[in-house]
């Protein structure tokens, strides 16, 4: 405090002097004078430190997330055996006499939805990317890309509502046994949600394949399709795969669509027409209900959240490795 007051005074005095004797000083002296100002020096020294502190917030956030999840999960494992949690095939936390915490049904629900989403999004996403990168004119691209951005910007709650009130009734007309809550409808809608991500990241990967390679193949008499499938696609494969893995990670973490349209009955099977529950939907179910603070159910959302976090972390790491390791350099 004292030093900053002092430097402020010094600055005032210095400025006064310069103003008075400006004509008599040479430029070099002026520079020397101004670079000697203490306050300025202090600011120059403090700013990087302040900015580093600000930058460390993101690091603290990560530590906060990992720390919270680990601490609360450890408390959860005081009540529930870790082997029961990892290998149990029944998730029945709301029982009065017996509570069962086997995560596999929730994982199965998540994987069912993610699997359907991938089946929808990968063919459509990559086909759109090929169209945009290899066939579309600049004008078409300028129309379609913003629309894809809009699609990517639709809030997931809106998609969830769409799945529940439009896609499910529509599917029920074709599949009579389909329940109101099922894995199929949210799966398809999650697929639509991640489609723009796959399309735009894959298109970026394809567009970065140099034109000389395309022209080389065209000069050899290839059709555009052959260039796209045999030259551009293999060259951009690492980028495309990374985009798919990132999209899978998004699908695993998607919450509102599955909460609204997926149901809340976790089952460890492969049936997509019945009500399911994903890891994310369970967290939402418990936190929107009145699970008392400190109960096993309360801590279970952290254990489930931790599992979810590990899944997405693994996927993101995988995407990173794929795009690093298999990238073709031109």
């Amino acid at each position: 405090m004292g030093s900053s007051c002092y430097s402020f005074l010094a600055f005032g005095k210095g400025g006064f002097t310069v103003g008075q004797k400006a004509e008599k000083l040479s430029v070099q002296e002026l520079i020397q004078k101004s670079s000697g100002k203490k306050q300025k020096k202090l600011i120059e020294k403090m700013i990087p430190i302040i900015l580093l502190l600000i930058a460390s917030v993101s690091v603290l956030t990560t530590f906060g997330i990992v720390g919270t999840l680990i601490v609360e999960t450890v408390i959860f494992f005081n009540d529930v055996k870790i082997t029961d949690f990892l290998f149990g095939t029944e998730w029945y936390p709301f029982g009065n006499t017996e509570q069962l915490f086997g995560i596999l049904p929730l994982v199965a629900g998540t994987l069912k939805v993610t699997g359907i989403a991938v089946v929808v999004a990968v063919p459509f996403g990559i086909a759109s990317a090929i169209f945009l990168s290899e066939y579309a004119t600049d004008k078409t691209r300028r129309i379609i890309k913003p629309i894809l951005e809009v699609l990517a910007g639709v809030p997931t709650i809106v998609y969830g509502f769409f799945a529940l009130t439009f896609v499910t009734p529509l599917l029920q007309q074709f599949i009579p046994g389909l329940k109101i809550f099922n894995a199929l409808s949210p799966g398809i809608v999650v697929g639509v949600m991640i489609l723009p991500m796959i399309a735009s990241l894959s298109e970026d990967a394809m567009s970065s394949v140099p034109n000389s390679i395309r022209e080389g193949a065209l000069a050899m008499g290839s059709t555009k399709l052959e260039v796209a499938l045999r030259v551009v696609l293999p060259a951009a494969l690492s980028g495309i795969m990374a985009s798919v893995v990132l999209a899978v990670s998004r699908a695993i973490g998607e919450t509102m669509i599955v909460s609204l349209a997926g149901g809340s009955t976790p089952k460890f099977d492969l049936d997509v027409t019945e009500s399911i529950q994903t890891m994310t939907a369970y967290i939402v179910q418990v936190s929107s209900g009145d699970a008392g603070y400190g109960t096993t159910i309360y801590y279970s959302i952290y254990a489930v959240g931790f599992t979810l976090f590990l899944f997405t972390l693994l996927m993101n790491y995988l995407a990173h490795v794929i795009s690093k390791k298999y990238r073709e350099e031109y």
Binding site: L51, I54, S58, G64, A127, T280, V284, G305
Partner: protein, 292 residues
């Protein structure tokens, strides 16, 4: 003797061209699929919701009766939420971006910060909700207030704002910085007088797009326990509140069919909110962005 069978070549070539044409159509149709879904989605929501979009809808609080249900508390709550998220996330995001682009040298700590940011971007929003619940709601005892929700949302969109701001700062050419140094300016003077003014349109565009993500995000709000039925307007940052996506979630869950229409009307308000934010972002980008 002819080595090349002209007819066979023509036939083969025509076949290959035909396959090319078929696939072009397929790829185009696949692209149209996304547009079709978007069209159906908008059509459904507009046709269902527009009749409920009356002036009373904006003046009423939530209600058990669909005809009396309104969005006032949620709309005002979302605006309050933005008033917390915008300053917090922009200050943290831009500060981090300036540090990484202008000050950070290549060392282990800075590499770790960079890697950490890209990892944070991939963490599901529901996990951020768990962080907010533990740290802001319980440990700091902020309760399910605007402040707790605002901090959680700020951390959620922080990586997006950082990456956007980094790109904007990187786009300012090195020559301009050198010119400023050449005039005797210090590093911080250069940043504050030269780099930031040119980067601000890009930073703001990215920030508004990130904020519009925060407006539509539901999962963290559910996890930190934001109530849905609120019959008062918040008056300070520690008030309880509800937000647009929470209100829509509550309506969408209700079994009565009439609430579907109310939910659609709510979605229209939310989409209108997002549209306004995105228009501002596009306006800023077109009006103020400089080309070097």
């Amino acid at each position: 003797m002819r080595y090349v069978n002209h007819e066979a070549v023509v036939k083969k070539m025509n076949k290959r061209l035909m396959v090319n044409g078929i696939f072009k159509t397929i790829f185009f149709a696949a692209t149209l699929f996304a547009l079709l879904v978007l069209g159906v989605l908008f059509y459904r929501i507009i046709s269902q919701g527009v009749s409920y979009l009356t002036p009373e809808f904006f003046q009423n609080f939530g209600s058990r009766v669909p005809e009396k249900a309104g969005i006032k508390a949620a709309l005002i709550g979302s605006i309050w939420l933005m008033c917390v998220v915008a300053p917090v996330s922009i200050i943290l995001g831009v500060g981090t971006a300036i540090y990484l682009e202008e000050y950070a040298t290549k060392n282990k700590l800075n590499d770790f910060i960079r890697m950490n940011i890209s990892n944070l971007a991939g963490v599901p929003s529901v996990v951020f909700g768990l962080l907010g619940l533990t740290i802001f709601v319980r440990a700091l005892a902020l309760g399910n207030s605007i402040l707790a929700a605002g901090f959680t949302m700020s951390l959620l969109i922080l990586p997006v704002i950082i990456v956007g701001a980094q790109e904007a700062i990187r786009a300012v050419p090195q020559d301009v910085r050198e010119a400023s140094y050449g005039m005797g300016a210090t590093k911080w003077q250069t940043i504050i007088n030269i780099v930031l003014p040119s980067a601000i349109p890009g930073i703001l565009t990215g920030a508004i797009l990130a904020l519009s993500r925060a407006v539509g995000e539901t999962a963290p709000l559910v996890v930190i326990g934001i109530p849905v039925i609120v019959h008062f307007l918040p008056d300070n940052l520690l008030s309880q509140f509800t937000a647009l996506p929470m209100q829509i979630y509550d309506w969408a869950k209700r079994p009565q069919e009439a609430f579907q229409y109310v939910a659609s009307a709510g979605i229209l308000v939310l989409m209108g909110f997002l549209l306004i934010m995105n228009s501002i972002a596009i306006f800023i980008r077109n009006k103020f962005s400089k080309r070097y």
